[in-house]
Amino acid sequence: MTFGERFSLNFIEKNRYQYLVSGIENTLLITVVAAAIGIVLGFLIAIIRSTHDTTGHLKILNAICKLYLTVIRGTPTTVQLLIVYFVIFSSISRPMLSAFIAFGLNSAAYVAEIVRSGIMSIDPGQNEAGRSLGLSYPQTMAFVIIPQAFKNVLPALTNEFIVLLKETSICIAISLRDLTYGTQLISSQTYDYMFPLLAGAAIYLVIVVFLTWVFGKLERSLRKNER
């Protein structure tokens, strides 16, 4: 078979490219929802943990957060996904929902530690300046500490979301039709592995390069004023 014939077989005939298109959609959707859950929950955990570390308050919440981080970071993501799908949601069989929750909870643990490191890296004088002006602890966090911490950890967060995007490829374990599973569906019909897999890899690469570019731009615009 010529190159053109193999290309046509894998992607054009029977509209097989559709497996990739819907796969991209699902992969992106899972990444975006999980990242959103990760950011919200991760910031919350980071704030609880750093508040505990600097003030000694929130002992119980901090202990819960620590346990959560230990469990999530100490077990494989694939196992977590399988538990959510086959154990927690065993009766309703909702692969997308399972993926949102599993990847969201997983990402939150990593985002939390990234953001916490960012908060702890801010000079204590910033907090003192905010408090000395009469701002409350939450106000100082919101207007003084978090904006600076966010800027500092943006490169690490970018990295986390790239890892997250690529890690969604394990959705194949719960037969969720993401991009990777899409390539396998094509292969199962055409008995050709190389074309679909290389196409899948190229698509992941393009998305990651694009994401890196967007975050890089955001980072530069946030840093613009600090020279």
Binding site: R131, L133, Q148
Partner: protein, 245 residues
């Protein structure tokens, strides 16, 4: 101008673990006073100053601000701090905000002023500290002396009743000390009550209405600068002054 007691400090103590830094400090700061606090490093003078707005929580003794005990439980610390401005050795400007927003952040977020009123006040304060053209600059674009002048303006924006200065010129290059002291001198002339931890003996002598020598966690000498600097009674103070003057 000197009148009501603004800060009444009674037997103030502070421990850091086993280390007792303040061993019972009793004094009063009256309205309109400019009090210079002097002492060797590690004597507790910064801790004392930082206790006045509860950045350090005292472990003993009482502080009354405008008649209200602020060291008791159930006191709204944030509300009291609005009336006690503070200027830090390291400036502690907010690097992610413009100069104008550094100044307006607290008054606006605390609902004390509207945005426009706060902006007007900021411009007025920038004029006063001689940096009217820096409103839209960021802290990183300023020199140390300029940063400290902005920090003073930021504290002033809250219209405090007293201003605390924690070694405001110690982190500055020598040629920038003068411009900051000049602003502080002008502030003192307006009748602002000031408590200044400083190593600038010239400033203490000329601008302060009172000088306090803290050593080993207690006040060893407390007098008018004219007496304090020339007729010191305490041996430790004499020794200290002979080294720094």
């Amino acid at each position: 101008m000197n009148g009501d007691v603004l800060l009444d400090i009674q037997g103030l103590e502070k421990h850091f673990g086993d280390n007792q830094v303040l061993r019972g400090i009793t004094t009063q700061i009256r309205k309109g006073e400019v009090v210079a606090i002097i002492g060797p490093s590690g004597c507790g003078k910064s801790t004392f100053l930082r206790s006045l707005n509860l950045l350090e929580e005292p472990t003993g003794g009482k502080i009354f601000f405008e008649g209200t005990e602020i060291t008791g439980s159930g006191v709204d610390v944030n509300h009291i701090r609005r009336k006690i401005g503070m200027v830090f050795q390291q400036f502690n400007l907010f690097p992610h905000l413009t100069i104008k927003r550094n100044i307006t952040l607290a008054p606006v977020k605390l609902g004390i002023m509207g945005k426009e009123e706060a902006n007007r006040r900021a411009e007025e304060l920038l004029q006063r500290v001689g940096l009217p053209d820096k409103a839209d600059a960021y802290p990183a674009q300023l020199s140390g002396g300029q940063k400290q002048r902005i920090a003073i303006a930021r504290a002033m924006a809250m219209n405090p009743d007293v201003m605390l200065f924690d070694e405001p010129t110690s982190a500055l290059d020598p040629e920038m000390v003068g411009e900051v002291l000049e602003i502080m001198r002008e502030l003192a002339l307006t009748g602002m009550t000031m408590v200044v931890v400083t190593h600038e003996m010239g400033f203490a002598r000329e601008v302060a209405s009172r000088a306090i020598f803290i050593d080993e966690g207690v006040i060893k000498e407390d007098d008018r600068p004219s007496v304090f600097f020339s007729q010191a009674k305490n041996e430790r103070l004499k020794d200290f002054l002979s080294k720094v003057l």
